[in-house]
């Protein structure tokens, strides 16, 4: 770490600076913003998954007491289209208006808007809007959507094909010709509903030509940019604030219709407007995640050596392309499918399809959990086929530690890695050797016990702007930071990242504290306000905040430190090379008793009457950091489960994980990210799944039908870590926000299949609910006593 001798705060379990306000109810979330004279927006949403809008009768709604405005898509076309930030080759983009004008393309597509003095009045009026729909044939399944004769969602595109994305490397035909073992497996990665605990909300006011918009977002600067462009306002006249944001997981990584609508309405109606999503509305109108069906073929030798991997996947993108949707099943998925393994030949073709369902975009892990499940299921299928220990099949195919930086067959470069130690530690934590005894013991109780391994590598830290551009990402992958030291020595860090639970206020303060030689307590980190931060921030997603935004903070702090050193040397009449900055003091090496306080230096910077010749007054620095590569964290997760022989219910009895995210800034926060990520991954493996009927109605339409894991559904987690630094950035940090989700789903699934393997069961698609397992056990001829 340049300039920072021994880190004092980096690596420490510093208590979170966010917590005092959040445990006392003082935090302000978007729906907590209450403004004088505020009106409420309610949207009328199509009950049909596919229907032409013939006519909308708003007369009765307009007469309802308290109604301020009733608007249809035609009235609101001025708000412009919703943005898509990624363009992959051959992409057929969809026209996506905030309010549908011609037809509704999924159940939940907004068709009209009501603004009223109260929420109740708005809802009453919404019920009085009569929409004359002409129902159209519906397609829900992505493969069927690509068949000839399928109902077409966007007629102007001529088909439902969004893109075909092929990635190839090596000689795949030779691999299969030489194969001693071939495995074929269809793998369904089901659709998920993100369920951030805070529903989405937008509040806005327009005063003196300036729009202030509070919103539940991970990307306030993108919201600012699009709102300004679409509504015809100067970017300097649009202030977007992401206050406390109650979780995102990708579901708030959008510029949503409601943000444009509330902004537009506040501007045109002359009074503040608020929209707050109801949970059941969110199930329809907030993006979903995953939804892949993959046909996987593996070519291998009998000794477990992988020769080649061929995959054909159809990804369901839903009714419209959302902001980052084109990049999730492609850039963030296909390239990382080889995982931690040497795979000599690779042939992947990904196709995206429009269907009459809620749009699909990034959900925690975003493309990488799909990759990890695919390769880790296939590794277990291979182990089963050749009768080899799943741990040894993995070890045999791992990229060796001396092969980094490693160019993968899919065409990317892994920065650093050492996969075997993480596997070994996880195996030891899980008492893998003693497992068969536990399996036998469970059998005496009529239960099936299994153990599942998942070794993953993930791609995160989006990332070099030029690489992004080459991949079709329409915006740079840098991040910004500004550090301002006030005359008194008070330090403020303004970051372009936009945390919503990740604790950046704490971690960024630790990074800046080490560079500036002060305590994190003396540093305030501010985020999520586009009028405070540097000109552009990219935001928080894809486990990028630390490896990009944290480095921007580090570099800005180093710049400030350099000026502190210069001023200190000047005041102490010493060489800058001999200046020490630590403990809130600035002194000449070996002479700490003649120190200047940090605040003396900052005061001197602003008094400006005794600075080195030619030095500008002031003490602040702004950095836009653009990283040279992505980062590639990795690890091994092991789940041990017991399946109830009578009911098929799964209990995770032990969970062990060893993860490597490079240098850890705050291990407490790292563990917290893992706990939450693992739980979400277990949720996908065992409990969660969005279900549509053939008419496009979401059957899992509330928390009653869609099971978000509770405290009783998951175990305590046993975590350990290895530290393999990356050369990609000066702190050697990677990312940890999504690793848990990526690692845990395959571990849990593999454990359940392992438990059922004595019955000859090779694969069951997620979620592995008790009903599904009970049926599988019965189909296998057991359980019918």
């Amino acid at each position: 770490m340049t300039g920072t001798a021994t880190p004092t705060y980096i690596g420490s379990r510093v208590a979170r600076k966010e917590d005092p306000r959040l445990i006392t109810g003082e935090g302000t979330f978007t729906d907590d913003v209450m403004l004088q004279g505020m009106a409420y927006l309610t949207l009328v949403r199509s009950p049909h998954a596919h229907a032409r809008i013939r006519r909308i009768d708003t007369a009765a709604a307009k007469k309802e007491p308290g109604v301020v405005a009733v608007l249809t898509g035609k009235d609101l076309e001025v708000t412009g289209m919703l943005p898509v930030f990624i363009t992959v080759p051959s992409m057929n983009g969809s026209k996506h208006m905030p309010i549908a004008t011609d037809k509704a393309r999924y159940a939940g597509d907004a068709v009209a808007a009501v603004v009223a003095d109260t929420r109740d009045a708005a809802k009453r009026a919404a019920d009085l809007i009569a929409v004359d729909y002409e129902p159209l044939p519906v397609v829900v399944d992505a493969s069927k959507a690509l068949e000839a004769g399928a109902p077409i969602l966007h007629e102007e595109l001529g088909s439902n094909l969004v893109f075909t994305y092929p990635v190839k490397g090596g000689d795949i035909d030779k691999a299969f010709k030489d194969a001693e073992i071939k495995i074929n497996q269809r793998i369904v990665n089901q659709r998920l509903i993100p369920n951030a605990m805070e529903p989405r909300a937008v509040t806005a006011k327009f005063e003196a030509g300036e729009l202030t918009l509070w919103t539940t977002t991970q990307i306030p600067h993108f919201v600012q940019l699009i709102v300004a462009l679409n509504l015809g306002l100067g970017q300097n006249k649009v202030r977007v604030i992401a206050p406390e944001v109650g979780g995102g997981f990708g579901s708030k990584l959008q510029v949503y219709a409601e943000e444009l609508l509330v902004g537009h309405l506040a501007k045109t109606l002359g009074r503040p407007v608020k929209w707050t999503e109801e949970r059941r509305e969110g199930y329809l109108a907030t993006i979903h995640g995953r939804d892949h069906v993959s046909d996987v073929e593996l070519a291998a030798k009998r000794d477990g050596t992988i020769l080649g991997l061929r995959v054909r996947t159809v990804a369901n993108v839903g009714a419209y392309l959302q902001a980052f949707a084109p990049g999730i099943p492609t850039i963030l998925h296909v390239f990382i499918v080889p995982g931690p393994y040497r795979i000599p030949a690779f042939d992947y073709e990904m196709r995206g399809a429009y269907t009459n369902t809620t749009p699909v975009d990034a959900y925690r892990g975003a493309g990488r959990p799909e990759a990890a499940l695919l390769i880790e299921r296939i590794m277990d299928r291979l182990a089963d086929e050749i009768g080899m220990d799943p741990a040894e099949v993995r070890r045999k195919n791992f990229i060796p530690s001396d092969a980094f930086p490693f160019n993968t067959i899919s065409g990317i470069t892994y920065d650093s890695g050492d996969y075997a130690p993480a596997l070994d530690r996880a195996l030891a934590m899980a008492d893998y050797k003693g497992f068969e005894k536990r399996r036998a013991e469970a059998k005496t109780r009529g239960n099936y016990r299994g153990i599942g391994i998942s070794s993953y590598v993930e791609i995160c830290g989006l990332a070099p702007s030029k690489a992004n551009a080459a991949l079709g990402v329409g915006w740079g992958g840098y991040e910004s930071a500004r550090i301002r030291v006030h005359a008194t020595g008070a330090v403020q860090v303004f970051t372009g990242t936009s945390p919503h639970g990740q604790g950046h206020e704490t971690s960024w303060a630790q990074i800046a504290a080490d560079a500036l030689g002060v305590s994190p307590n003396d540093i305030e980190v501010r985020h999520g306000d586009t009028f405070e931060s540097p000109g552009m921030g990219v935001g928080t997603f894809g486990s990028r905040s630390l490896a990009v935004g944290g480095i921007a903070v580090h570099k800005a702090a180093e710049k400030v430190r350099e000026k502190v050193v210069q001023i200190g040397a000047h005041l102490l009449e010493a060489s800058p090379a001999d200046i020490v900055v630590e403990g809130g003091k600035v002194f000449v090496k070996g002479v700490p008793d003649k120190a200047k306080n940090f605040g003396d230096i900052s005061m001197a910077a602003y008094l400006a009457n005794n600075l080195p010749d030619g030095m500008e007054p002031g003490l602040e620095a702004t950095v836009y950091y653009d990283p040279p590569n992505f980062t590639f964290p990795f690890g091994t997760h092991i789940a041990e489960v017991e399946v109830d022989g009578e009911t098929g219910a799964v209990q995770i009895v032990k969970y062990s994980a060893c993860d490597d995210c490079g240098r850890q800034i705050n291990p407490m926060i790292v563990e917290g990210q893992l706990h939450g990520g693992i739980t979400q991954g277990i949720g996908q493996a065992l409990y969660e799944g969005a279900v549509y009927d053939n008419d496009g109605q979401l059957l899992s339409g509330s928390m009653m039908e869609y099971h978000v894991p509770s405290a009783e559904d998951v175990p305590a987690f046993d975590l350990d870590s290895t530290v393999t630094l990356t050369n990609t950035n000066p702190l050697g940090v990677k990312g940890i926000g999504e690793a848990g989700t990526i690692g845990s789903t395959p571990a849990a699934v593999n454990a359940v299949i392992d438990a059922l393997s004595p019955l000859g069961i090779k694969h069951i698609d997620m979620p592995l609910t008790s009903e599904k397992i009970w049926r599988a056990i019965r189909a296998a001829g057991e359980g019918r006593r």
Partner: protein
């Protein structure tokens, strides 16, 4: 027509005219501006709106304000006394039991009610007690640690601090 309700919230008495359809959580958030209580699902699945009503953890999204007439309500804003944090608040911070903080008020109030009825819970009992409060960030691991840690502190200081949940007779 409005109905008059009289209730105590965090020790302060309020008399207000309310619509009969007004939910307790709306009364707290919008009428009294106590926005620390959150709405996560509208259907009593998630527990973000949990407050104490006469000492019992109650989902304020499924109770009408008129039903709370005559009760004593405690919200997250009332947990600290004279700016001294309640042990559950300290424990949530110490154990990193919160990330985004949205579910946290409801979880803490559920835990307070639970710990005053079961001062020495097992981890399994803690997990059962909070299964009606969903958290999407923490995976519950550190929340369980926080509640266990608070239980130890609350046992040591029993009698020294007034109970929050049991301030009223049941």
């Amino acid at each position: 027509m409005g109905h008059t309700v009289t209730l105590s919230v965090n020790g302060t008495s309020y008399i207000r005219d309310v619509e009969p359809t007004l939910l307790l959580v709306e009364f707290l958030r919008e009428t009294l501006s106590l926005t620390g209580t959150h709405v996560g699902c509208d259907t009593s699945q998630c527990g973000a709106c949990t407050v104490l009503v006469d000492g019992r953890a109650t989902k304020a999204c499924t109770m009408l304000a008129v039903q709370a007439d005559g009760t004593q309500v405690v919200t997250v804003e009332g947990l600290a006394k004279n700016s001294e944090l309640h042990p559950i608040q300290r424990a949530f911070a110490k154990e990193h039991g919160l990330q985004c903080g949205f579910c946290t008020p409801g979880l803490m109030l559920t835990a307070v009610d639970f710990l005053e009825r079961n001062p020495s819970p097992t981890d399994a009992e803690i997990r059962h007690a909070i299964e009606g409060n969903l958290c999407r960030c923490t995976g519950y691991h550190n929340i369980v640690n926080a509640i266990r840690s608070a239980s130890a502190e609350m046992r040591q200081t029993t009698g020294a601090r007034p109970k929050v949940a049991a301030e009223v007779n049941r």
